[in-house]
Amino acid sequence: MITFKNVSKVYANGTHALTDINMQIEQGEFVFIVGSSGAGKSTFLKLLMCEEQPTEGEIVINDTVITDLPRRKIPFLRRTMGIVFQDFRLIDSMSVYDNVAFAMHVVGATPQEIRRRVPYMLSLVNLQEKAKCRPKELSGGEQQRVGLARALINNPKLIIADEPTGNVDPALSFEIVDLLSEINRRGTTILMVTHEHGLVKHFHRRIVEIQGGRIVADTGKVETSDEAE
């Protein structure tokens, strides 16, 4: 699904953010991206979302070479991804329902589609009772679940989660990753950046470690117990 071929990124100020990255992620995988601050994780995700272009190499997502993608086509590539932010990024002036529906408006969904899909998605993250609440009335974990519902609403093939547990209680962190695992079981590829070693150890998934702009460790595809079944 995702292929990085000899990808390097050097910023205009001379910083070598990534050097000669080669990796492949299959459809349906769950991958933890770990590494210290400044290791290159952010650049890795920015390249995936076409926010930055690599200096060298090629990135392919679903048979599309995204490094050659014209600017006008970038929004359509992003519609195949869902992004979960560390700081939730919910709009305070909108209700939970509207925060999720908003992402459907952007892709041109009809009001009927929105009315049908948003309640379903909120029930999936167990927030159907809070549809009319404002984000500030929710706990950190609940806010992140709204973020997750928004990321999932357009049925993306890939979820990019940037430290989704960074701003929630440790106990709730497991709940969030459980939810991501559930989504993964339904066939969505998950790419999750995290610092929390406890989580990485607990969930037996593929781990890619980036240090100094290079991949220093990759456990490769892990057969989960579900998949084994």
Binding site: M49, I74, R78, P111
Partner: protein, 303 residues
């Protein structure tokens, strides 16, 4: 784009105006001032044209006899004028009649003037003359001036020329004022939209992250600009009408010229103002959001 999407974006644009109401009011005020000044310059120019037409149409000049010339002598002056070839008509305006005419045209102010002057008549006898052939104007005027007892000729050609000069001046000054205010309006509107944009940076970044096209991001801001323009256009055409009608009311007693009636033009003026306002608003909105999107590119800076 689907109709439901368009409705959503229009609603968002209208909501923006309310959210940033202080700046929206400032934009509307500046745009209204600009449109009002434009309208005032156009109306002034139209009225000067009308005054010119009435002066030119009269084809007449006024010949004043010397101050204190006996009436009999004044009549003789008239006979001399009538003898001239190019004179079509020659009508005597006695000084007493002239004073009465003046008092009438001044209305209430005339009564004040009358009480100030008392019985003393400061006007000389005069003749209203029209010519057969205006091209022989200079020779005829010279012959009239040569007649004994004639003091001066009031030449309406001069008045027309002065009115033309005034018209040109109003047009030039109006054009510069409008140009300057247009730039100010564009600046204020684009700043209003920029404020709206900064307050919605989070929303824009989320839009970009879920795959919004630049047009989807841009449209609510353009709608905001267009709505500001629409409100300004309607408001300024209404204000212009009220101010103009009041000005006409104030000038009603003074019959200097026939002012232009804007009643039949009201529809066109409103349409012109609304269109101008909407174009300004759209351009102002477009400038800001395009600059922002160009600067930020496809970024939504999440990390």
């Amino acid at each position: 784009m689907r109709l439901s999407n368009l409705r959503y974006l229009l609603k968002e644009g209208a909501k923006n105006i309310w959210t940033n109401r202080t700046m929206s009011i400032a934009s509307i005020a500046v745009l209204v001032s600009c449109l009002l000044l434009t309208g005032a310059a156009i109306l002034l120019s139209m009225n000067i044209d009308s005054a010119m037409a009435s002066v030119e149409g009269s084809n007449s000049i006024k010949v004043y006899c010397e101050q204190g010339l006996p009436t009999l002598k004044s009549v003789q002056v008239g006979e001399e004028i009538m003898k001239l070839d190019n004179v079509k008509s020659c009508e005597l305006v006695l000084k007493d009649e002239a004073v009465e005419e003046m008092m009438d045209s001044l209305g209430d102010n005339g009564t004040v003037l009358e009480s100030l002057l008392g019985d003393e008549n400061f006007l000389p006898d005069a003749y209203r003359i029209s010519m057969e052939d205006l091209s022989k104007y200079d020779e005829t005027a010279a012959s009239i001036l040569a007649i004994d007892g004639v003091d001066q000729i009031i030449d309406y050609k001069d008045v027309a020329e002065k009115l033309t000069d005034l018209d040109n001046m109003v047009s030039t000054a109006g054009m510069w004022i409008v140009l300057l205010l247009s730039l100010v309006s564009l600046f204020i509107i684009s700043n209003t939209i920029r404020v709206a944009m900064f307050s919605r940076r989070l929303q824009i970044s989320i839009m970009k992250s879920v795959g919004a096209t630049n047009w989807f991001v841009r449209l609510p801001f353009v709608v905001e600009g267009v709505l500001i323009g629409l409100i300004s256009g309607l408001l300024s055409s209404l204000l212009l009408n009220i101010v103009y009608q009041n000005a006409l009311g104030a000038l009603a007693g003074i019959n200097i010229f026939d002012p232009v009636d804007i009643g039949p033009l009201q529809g066109s003026i409103t349409l012109l103002f609304v269109l101008a306002g909407m174009i300004f608003g759209a351009v102002g909105g477009m400038i800001s959001i395009t600059r922002y999107l160009h600067k930020e590119g496809s970024s939504f800076s999440i990390f």
